[in-house]
């Protein structure tokens, strides 16, 4: 009768809650998104020059050029492997070097500006 039904209802509810809690506890924690943040090597462009003019990075590294000059510049590989759009002040360009080697680059607008990325 009434008290027996109430007992059953309470037991069932408690059981369900317990099961849910147990299941929740058993679920694996949400994994962190992706890999740890990749570091990028920065080359600053200012006064018509790349700084540092030579950088050494490991294979797979990303290099980011950022233009701090008041005139636009580009970064282009002498072998045609990459070529940025014209970067105005505060614009950036990134390239990831997947193979070891010596990469010469220059500014296509002001070709006297040259630099090297050594990938080891």
């Amino acid at each position: 009768m009434k008290s027996k039904n109430l007992y059953l209802a309470t037991f069932t509810t408690t059981a369900v809650i317990a099961i849910v809690l147990l299941l929740a506890a058993g679920l694996p924690a949400e994994s962190a998104s992706g890999q740890p943040p990749t570091t990028t090597t920065e080359i600053k462009i200012d006064n018509f020059s790349f700084g540092p003019q030579t950088v050494t990075v490991p294979v797979g590294a990303t290099v980011t050029w950022i233009n701090h000059d008041d005139i636009p510049h580009t970064s282009a590989s002498t072998e045609g492997l990459f070529k940025s759009k014209a970067m105005d002040t505060e614009d950036k360009f990134s390239y990831t070097f997947t193979k070891a080697g010596t990469y010469s680059y220059y500014c296509t607008i002001h070709p006297k500006m040259t630099g090297t990325v050594l990938v080891k």
């Binding site: 018509f48 005139i71 014209a86 010469s104 006297k112």
Partner: protein, 328 residues
């Protein structure tokens, strides 16, 4: 011009000039530019004279004409060196329109735009619509080549040109050649004309009478002014060898945003001021680029160039006028 490092200027001039223009002569030229004193070429020998006297009276002879060179408008530039390059361009156009002798045409020696953007070219075109001379000839600067190797520029200004935009035309007996030395630039180099253009130039000049006055115009100087800053053209010697036999050759360039002049035999070289912003003199700053001057001085370091062809002497007289000066 501020004389901050006299030794450096002297050294540079010594290095650059084995043509007899010493520091004193250089500074004299700078003063002349401001006062409108004419430095004419007559049979290859420079002769100075007050401009108003010699030209104003003699004007009107059949075949005499005048044209204007403007350069480096850099529409789109908006940094402290000049926050409103469109306004200074308009001042330059007003100055052209106020010239007593209406120029037959205008030559723009490049860097029309700052970033080769369509809106920048549009603004320039709009401003030039108000110029008294309706015929305008252009050659690109490196800033005009930023969208796919100058496609935008060629579409707008390259009709009838060859290769990267070179061409020639004749006007009242004077032969004009527009050259492009801002395409396919090599790492570590300066300006470059390239083999194809040089071959075309040689062919274009072939057979012309040596008494034909020649005017070459290109963006980057066709003589070596300062290699460290890329102020020169790697293969210009070859181009200049093709004009050696002519009696009068004038080379008009831009790019360096300041007046520089040189005479070598029968060839006179001239670089124009910009209508947008000045640049430092060679070696007087860590790099080339926009040079900020006090606001009240800006108009004195920007300008236009009036070139007058006088049939009688088969000579071209070059007169530079800062925007801030009164009179042509």
């Amino acid at each position: 011009m501020p004389d901050k490092k006299p030794d450096l200027i002297d050294q540079n001039l010594q290095d650059l000039n084995d043509d007899g223009v010493d520091r004193r002569g250089f500074l004299k030229c700078m003063a002349w530019a401001g006062t409108g004193l004419v430095w004419t070429m007559s049979g290859g020998i420079p002769v100075s004279g007050a401009f108003a006297k010699s030209y104003g009276k003699g004007a009107g002879k059949a075949g005499d004409f005048t044209f204007v060179q403007i350069s480096d408008s850099h529409i789109g530039f908006n940094k402290p060196a000049n926050p409103d390059v469109t306004a200074t361009l308009q001042t330059a156009i007003n100055k052209i329109n106020a010239m007593p002798q209406k120029p037959d045409f205008i030559i723009h020696t490049g860097d029309l735009s700052q970033l080769s953007k369509p809106s920048e070219f549009d603004t320039l075109d709009q401003a030039l619509k108000g110029a008294s001379a309706k015929q305008i000839y252009f050659v690109p600067g490196e800033h005009d080549m930023l969208s796919d190797n100058g496609e935008q520029f060629l579409e707008r200004y390259g009709k009838g040109t060859k290769g990267t935009g070179w061409y020639s035309f004749d006007h009242k007996g004077v032969h004009f050649v527009g050259l492009v030395n801002v395409a396919n630039l090599k790492a570590g180099g300066m300006g470059s004309l390239g083999h194809e253009q040089l071959e075309w130039l040689e062919d274009d000049l072939h057979g012309r009478s040596a008494s034909t006055p020649i005017v070459l115009f290109a963006h980057i100087p066709l003589w070596t002014i300062y290699p460290d800053w890329g102020w020169g053209t790697d293969d210009s010697e070859q181009a200049l060898s093709y004009v050696k036999r002519f009696g009068s050759v004038t080379v008009l360039n831009g790019h360096i945003h300041q007046i520089m002049q040189k005479v070598e035999g029968k060839v006179s070289f001239h670089t124009a001021m910009s209508t947008a912003f000045p640049q430092p003199a060679p070696g007087t700053a860590p790099s080339a680029g926009p040079m900020k001057v006090p606001a009240e001085q800006l108009q004195s370091v920007l300008g236009v160039t009036d070139v007058n062809y006088l049939v009688s002497g088969r000579s071209l007289a070059i007169v530079d006028s800062p925007l801030g000066s009164t009179g042509a």
